[in-house]
């Protein structure tokens, strides 16, 4: 009887705490640090948690609280959301799971069966869900967008976004802005024509669509030779950001296709390898900046657009911080797209710098060739989709980096056939991608490439410190209100550094590659840290 009453009172407390997640709450996520309401924690995508109970002094007392072992052998790339005491994550490829964030016990699972026609290039993965009201949203690897009741896991609507048979997929967490849920499509290795689209949160009806490759008559169409725009890729596979004051949403766009042979697509190939700023109500483009014009190195600009308000050369400025796969760190004015700074954060040999307008100056001969050309950074990039972090406390920008890393780029013919890979051969690297990597076994030399967390001063692009790892990293980074930095790597370690100087403070061996970004939340006044590694989700808290 006593146990029953405790059970009911727990239920009541949960019911009292639970409230609809208004869009206003999402925009002001910083006011409720106990929750984690979007993929990157807030609309500025800083992956910074103001929580400060776990500190550099007590972080050594972290202990594992629970583990959720996914019934999937795929990479666990999702960042969970925590909403008023409930955690939501995705078990690959497309099962939404609602859990108790204190115990890890499952409330419910929504299982979605993707079409057998789905063929994502690089794993049947998913990086998380979005929430507004009482509804969760998930993109699927067969390019559907589904809405699910956050209380009982029942589907509410299911919209076909694109054709999986043609190579389209959705792998990133959607972004909710006002009454719309926004997604982009992956498939850059299959000759898709990319787009970003907004859907009504209540009905799933498409509201606007922005083609990442302009069609005939649209500005930028002239940057594609002949019919190459029809199969030029320019995919989207990492969640964008939003500035409510400017009402602009920012998205990174993937590489042009075929990836390694640009002969058939002469021109800059807009908006591939670019960031675009779109009006959140209409999807109309306000500005763009192209990091890698006429890319032939698979330098997707699919990094999380990190927004920051900083004092830039004496004046407060709304900027965007961006460590690109192409090896350069950038600062852009996010109101206008103006190029403010570009500086390598790893070895770069394809460009020597930038002209006045911020266009990279190419180094002659550094292009894919039939006999092969060594290019730094290599095919996985100086960084990739792995979430960086900006700490407003330290003022530093933290990048998961691949150092001393190159690939040999070989050029070959590519013929388009719907649903088939359309890349023009494959680069060769000593270090494999996340699918091909040795993961557990490493006998490499340092000059063959290694991973690092690199801390950059956004004002100068200079490196402040570096934490070196023996192997490379596919892990995102989170910083906290107590100047802790959490990250991991392919070796399977999850660790805490002092965000001010890079000193290692704590580590745990999770036994599988960390291919996700850490996040933090609190329940009943206790802070937790969550990260996915291998096939499981691990949650840590202070020893009691």
């Amino acid at each position: 009887m006593m146990r029953l009453s405790i059970f009911f009172s727990t239920l009541l407390i949960a019911g009292t705490l639970s409230a609809q997640v208004s869009f206003d709450r999402i925009v002001n996520a910083g006011k409720e640090p106990q929750n984690w309401l979007t993929y990157s924690g807030n609309m500025m995508s800083q992956r910074y948690s103001p929580l400060a109970q776990i500190t550099p002094q007590n972080v050594k007392d972290l202990e594992q609280k629970w583990v959720f072992q996914a019934r999937s052998l795929e990479k666990f790339e999702a960042t969970p959301l925590v909403v008023d005491g409930i955690m939501y994550t995705v078990q690959a490829p497309n099962d939404i799971v609602a859990l108790d964030p204190v115990t890890g016990r499952v409330f419910w699972t929504y299982s979605y069966s993707p079409s057998p026609a789905s063929r994502p290039c690089c794993g049947r993965v998913n990086r998380g869900v979005a929430v507004v009201g009482d509804t969760l949203f998930m993109g699927t690897i067969d390019a559907h967008l589904v809405a699910v009741d956050a209380k009982n896991g029942r589907p509410l609507w299911n919209t076909t976004v694109a054709k999986p048979e043609a190579g389209y997929a959705i792998t990133h967490a959607p972004l909710v802005i006002k009454d719309k849920v926004i997604v982009g499509v992956a498939g850059g290795e299959f000759g898709i024509r990319g787009f970003i689209a907004a859907y009504d949160v209540k009905t799933g009806k498409e509201d606007w669509r922005f083609n990442t490759i302009p069609g005939p008559g649209e500005p930028g169409h002239e940057t594609w030779a002949g019919d190459s725009w029809k199969t030029g890729g320019a995919s989207v596979w990492v969640t964008g950001s939003y500035d409510p004051a400017l009402n602009l949403t920012y998205w990174g766009i993937g590489n042009a296709g075929p990836d390694y042979n640009g002969d058939l697509r002469a021109g800059d190939n807009l908006y591939s390898s670019s960031v675009v700023a779109l009006d959140a109500d209409t999807g109309k483009i306000k500005w763009h900046y192209q990091f890698s014009p006429h890319d032939e190195f698979d330098y997707d600009a699919v990094q999380v657009p990190v927004l920051a308000d900083i004092v830039w050369q004496g004046q407060m400025r709304k900027v965007m911080l961006w460590a690109n796969r192409n090896g350069f760190f950038y600062v852009l004015d996010r109101a206008t797209g103006k190029f403010l700074l570009g500086k390598p954060f790893v070895e770069v040999n394809w460009a020597s710098g930038f002209d006045e307008a911020g266009r990279p100056m190419r180094i002659p001969g550094k292009v894919p060739t039939p006999e092969g050309t060594v290019i730094f950074p290599g095919n996985q990039g100086g960084t990739n989709w792995y979430s960086p972090s900006f700490s407003p406390r330290t003022g530093l920008f933290y990048i998961p980096s691949w150092v001393n890393y190159s690939s040999v780029y070989i050029k070959a013919d590519a013929d388009y056939e719907e649903g088939k890979r359309f890349v023009g051969t494959s680069p060769r690297s000593l270090i494999g991608g996340a699918n091909g990597g040795a993961a557990k076994i490493n006998t490499r030399r340092e000059d063959e490439g290694y991973g690092a967390v690199r801390a950059i001063d956004p004002m100068t692009g200079d490196r402040k410190w570096e934490f070196k790892m023996n192997d490379v990293t596919d892990a995102g980074i989170m910083t906290t209100g107590s100047d802790l930095l959490f990250s991991g790597g392919r070796e399977g370690y999850f660790f805490a550094l002092d965000a001010r100087n890079g000193q290692l403070l704590w580590r745990a061996n999770l036994g599988g590659t960390v291919a996700s970004g850490p996040m933090s939340y609190s329940v009943a006044g206790k802070q937790y840290i969550a990260v996915s590694a291998g096939n499981s989700l691990f949650v840590y808290g202070l020893r009691e």
């Binding site: 040999v408 690297s429 006998t443 023996n470 070796e491």
Partner: protein, 249 residues
Amino acid sequence: MRLLSLSLLLLLPVALQAQHTYTPADIQEGGRLFRANCVLCHGPEGDQVPGIDLGHGRFRQTYSESALIKIIQNGIPGTGMPPNNLQDFQAEIVVAYLRSLATAGRTVTGNGNAARGKVIFAGKGNCASCHRVNGVGSRVGPDLSDIAALRRTVEIEQSLLDPNAEVLPQNRTYRVVTSQGETITGRLLNVDTFTVQILDSKERLLSLQRSGLRESGLVKDSPMPSYRDKLSSQELADVVAYLATLKGL
């Protein structure tokens, strides 16, 4: 006809240029796939089917690289060439491996006698002091029980003559000095930011915390001595012939 001649002329230079564009690991994996899928008909040197010498780019007609990849994947209907369940990348590195055959040449030590080679391996060559074959010999060096399934005879020969020419990543040597001053050397099995795992010269599997070591790092040169001046040309050929029989269980 003109096209055919041109293609034949083009094929070899491309092959020669392309050999440097694949990593040793790519070539090795391509060779493994070749042996797993192709060697039954084409033979280990790729010259077993009449009129076809894969190792020297000789086919019954000329094919581009992409055509070769398609043939590997889809086969040639109406012939003995079946389709193979290989991904694009796998088929590409099989072709890369075949190109490496074309440019790697043949052994320089001539024909050997495997039976004599086995005696030299165990005796004069003292090979078993580092290497193990079918459960006999030391584990300190690479186990050679299936070396012929992994490496071509020309590569085996190169390892005997010039061991430093190519040390595969899995055969790198690591040296540490412990906090007590003990020097330990062994084959590097795995290393991460905080620990290192080796098989040391006493055949111990050791896992060490790197922070507790005075010194640690890879040894540049292979511990394998060159046999160029230790064995005669015929003896070398005999050892190569013996190793070429070791194809595993």
